[in-house]
């Protein structure tokens, strides 16, 4: 039943996105051209990747506020490494970014797992620590285009099978997360931990360890996004992605991921990110000042939460009564 509700939600969200595109296309037909929609997807690939990582954490009744700061730190380290040693191949740098991100995520995870500190407190603290560390390693300086190697900048701009490589990163992440959530015991453990931690323990799931791994994943994803962000906008600074953690959570919430844990799908998170993407892309087209974006995504979050609450009012215990009745 939960699954069908989630699917229904995804259909509604997809319809809302289609409606939005159609609405803009009435006056500006070029907006609905595949090439334009593809570029919207490409522009929001990083948000999609981040939202998937956040979803995994939120499913376990946790939250990761440190993702954007993690992204800034990893991006800075990777960019500085590239500036200092331009000969290091880019795939190796990407692996390095994911490893650094995962290490930072593991730090969050250990505090949540071993010390039982609420995730919101832990990541609130590490959010400021990671961003401060970005400043310390860089000395407040920027790394910009002329210090990055050509390969570093051009890799994600290349085209492969008709799509930019950046989009392929997002597609690969979507497939990987989909397989993980639906085809592995770990995916089930993530849902179980969120739905009922006590029952999960009786079912043999190590709840603490599951949360720890979820934080490692969100960290790893942030690290990857760190490289992608820095090479896409060709700048690494302390201010990179400042405040972006809220966009990531917004994408999840709009995508129907329940902040109370246990409910959420890969499709939902992706659609949530795309919804924000379409709004962001449509505003300049219909000639609305970009200053409206913040208020509109705020309203979208509130609206999404109200709709989520309607959908979630399910009786987990009703099964017993039914059993008694029959």
């Amino acid at each position: 039943m939960i699954r069908s509700l989630a699917r229904q939600r995804e259909i509604w969200l997809a319809a809302a996105i289609a409606l939005l595109i159609g609405f803009v296309a009435i006056r500006f037909p070029a907006f609905a051209r595949p090439a334009n929609l593809m570029s919207v997807f490409n522009d929001y690939s990083i948000l999609i990747i981040l939202a998937l990582g956040q979803m995994v954490v939120i499913l376990t009744r946790s939250i990761d506020l440190s993702m954007a700061a993690n992204l800034a730190f990893t991006g800075m380290v990777v960019a500085m490494t590239n500036a200092a040693f331009p000969t290091i191949p880019i795939p190796l740098l990407i692996v390095m970014a994911m490893a650094i991100g995962a290490t930072l995520g593991a730090f969050n995870g250990v505090l949540v797992w071993k010390l039982g500190i609420p995730p919101i407190v832990v990541t609130l603290g590490t959010l400021t620590v990671f961003r401060g560390m970005t400043f310390v390693v860089s000395g407040g300086a920027w790394v910009n285009a002329d210090r990055m190697s050509a390969a570093f900048i051009s890799l994600q701009r290349g085209w492969f099978l008709g799509l930019p490589v950046l989009s392929w990163f997002a597609i690969a992440a979507i497939i990987a997360f989909y397989l993980m959530m639906t085809r592995t015991p770990f995916g089930r453990a993530l849902y179980a931990t969120g739905v009922n931690p006590t029952a999960s323990v009786y079912a043999g799931i190590d709840v603490g360890r599951t949360k720890f791994l979820a934080f490692c994943i969100s960290g790893m994803v942030s690290g990857l996004a760190g490289y992608l962000w820095v090479s896409r906008y060709v700048i690494a600074s302390t201010e990179v992605a400042n405040g972006y953690e809220l966009q990531i959570i917004a994408a999840c919430v709009i995508g129907g991921v329940s902040i109370a844990g246990g409910i959420g799908t890969v499709g939902g998170a992706v659609l949530g990110a795309l919804f924000l993407g379409v709004i962001g892309a449509a505003l300049p087209v219909i000639n609305v000042s970009p200053f409206w974006q913040l208020a509109i995504s705020g309203s979208a979050i509130i609206l999404a939460v109200i709709l989520n609450a309607r959908g979630e009012k399910r009786g987990g215990r009703i099964i017993l009564k039914k059993a008694e009745a029959t």
């Binding site: 010390l115 609130l124 917004a250 609450a309």
Partner: protein, 340 residues
Amino acid sequence: MTILDQTAAARPQARHIPDRLDSPLKAGLFSWEMLLVVVAVAIFVANALATPYFLNAWALSDLTFNFVEKGLIALAMALLIISGEIDLSVAAIIALASTMMGLALQWGVGTPGLVLIGLATGLLCGAFNGALVTRLGLPSIVVTIGTMSLFRGIAFIVLGDQAFRGYPESFAFFGQGYVWWVISFELVLFVVMAALFWFLLHRTSFGRTVYVIGNNPVAAAFSGVRVERVKFILFCLTGVMAGLASVLLTSRLGSTRPSIAMGFELEVITMVVLGGVAILGGSGSITGVVLAAIIMGLVTFGLGLLNVPGIVMSIFIGLLLITVIALPIVWRRVREGQAE
């Protein structure tokens, strides 16, 4: 870890009720507040030793401006968090209230009107949060992430990349004025408000109900506590305090930009948690929050005198938050380990 240990960990801890209470003296000596006092004194001494400019009446007076505005919000936020809710939109409320005051200024509203509009905007924003949380039963953390974007978004729509300036001379008193010698108006207001909130939380039945709701909202409802109404009032209270902070901050800066008070919400929550308020609700004290506000003021001001950039200070604040919460847990673990 055996399965039984794990289930014990997953289950909410049963409240341990001792046969005999500790003597008030012992409880006072080993309390969280005492730890905070020790930390505050240590940082104060470290500051005084590290720089010769610190022990000076005017320097210490300047120090208070570092935490008073955030501290005022932290007082109300403490009650809200004790009741089991949270408000992440307080910094955005500051921005919106400041924008509304700026708009009113353009229409020629005088100082009393400006203050009133600042407070009223805060109240309305708080009531909006409260209504969404209590009437529709939504989780406050997501609602206020949403309203945080909405409130600041409205400020951006009104102001764009512009700024409001030219607040009247009399308005400057709230953020820049001194009541006597080095005692600023902001400091006096903070002391008065801290006393009021202390009385409200620790000496009235309303304060008791806040704790009861935080510990067990269902039991509270069955005991005749109007849970939703109390929570609604607390959201309004937090909104008004954010409005008040907006008046002080706008007056101190003398201008309004839509990016005003960016990131304040994290510092306010850090203050509250550092002050010993349980983030999941149910316990905490105003004394602790006031001490935490002073500690954060001391840390940032002291590091500032040592020419440490603000962003590096945030590392200290972040580590302080995590360490102060982790230490007692580690300590308890070690002690339990010895006992076995």
